[in-house]
Symmetry: C2
DNA sequence: CGTAATTAGATTGTGCGCAACTTAAATTTG
DNA sequence: CAAATTTAAGTTGCGCACAATCTAATTACG
């Protein structure tokens, strides 16, 4: 076993890439990427959202989201429409096709859950919790922003 | 809390990006990326390696490694030299500068370890183990390669 | 031996992820 | 109200990650 396999960071990085590859394979028939799928999950569950909200939920900025949403729009799964009350805001909403996708892709969560190899929901939640704690903690590193 | 925060895949994805950002900040003075750092860790600990070996350890193919190694070489931290016994093979070795970096970056593992917020080495190892199991399990998804 | 199959590495092209910057609109404040 | 600040989203550029393809060298085997 190589040195990197003992590192927490590498085991995270490795697990994430394995998971993303699994999604990529499951999503291939629809030519969707993992991140595009996450945007759809948000829209299915929380309804239409401004770009900013989606960015906050996924922790992604407009540099990532703008082109990603353009691609989702060109696939005709979403529409973007500028808010009338505040024209800086762009609202993202599902098309009918995008809505239908929810049923077509309903098998994916279970297949991924199975892919994790976790024995039950409790252990999945335990893992999610420790990863949340790690994420929080990692974001609090002070480094040099002592200004 | 958004729907994505309950997903194992998203908590992984999120934790990985937080960790990578932490490395990026720590490595900024040397203009190294996280993946470039991983290559250096391998070379420091396992000595010169062919590209293929590095790729196996990091689970990266030449499409990622070739340009990455070119950039590490242009920074003069590594050298690439084609094997004489098998001219298909390219061996990657540290320059003196690359070797010196090991001491300069010696503070990083501890800062990251601290950043994880994990209380002790045992819990770090436990997390690493469950992530390894998840990675293995995720790679064994059959999907459609029924050929 | 010579052809077929395999292997190592590089190249090309796409899509993030993110920093830095731009534009335009809304809000704050003097 | 006007100038300054803040906010939302888009654009540009770089470096992965990865699929697909290519070249050249080595190995297998008929």
């Amino acid at each position: 076993m190589a040195i990197v396999d003992e590192m927490v960071c590498f085991s995270l990085y490795s697990a994430t890439r394995a998971t993303t590859r699994a999604y990529t394979e499951l999503l291939a028939p629809w030519k969707l990427t993992y991140t595009q799928y996450l945007v759809l999950v948000i829209l299915w569950n929380e309804g239409s959202q401004p770009v900013r909200e989606i960015g906050e939920m996924l922790q992604l900025d407009s540099g990532t989201l703008s082109p990603l949403l353009r691609r989702l729009e060109s696939k005709e799964f979403i529409k973007r429409q500028r808010s009338e009350t505040d024209t800086r805001v762009v609202n993202v909403l599902l098309t009918e096709q995008g809505n239908n996708l929810r049923n077509e892709l309903a098998h994916i969560p279970e297949q991924i859950a199975c892919g994790t190899g976790l024995p039950d929901i409790a252990s999945a939640k335990a893992l999610v919790n420790s990863l949340h704690r790690l994420t929080e903690s990692m974001q609090e590193i002070p480094t040099m922003d002592s200004k």
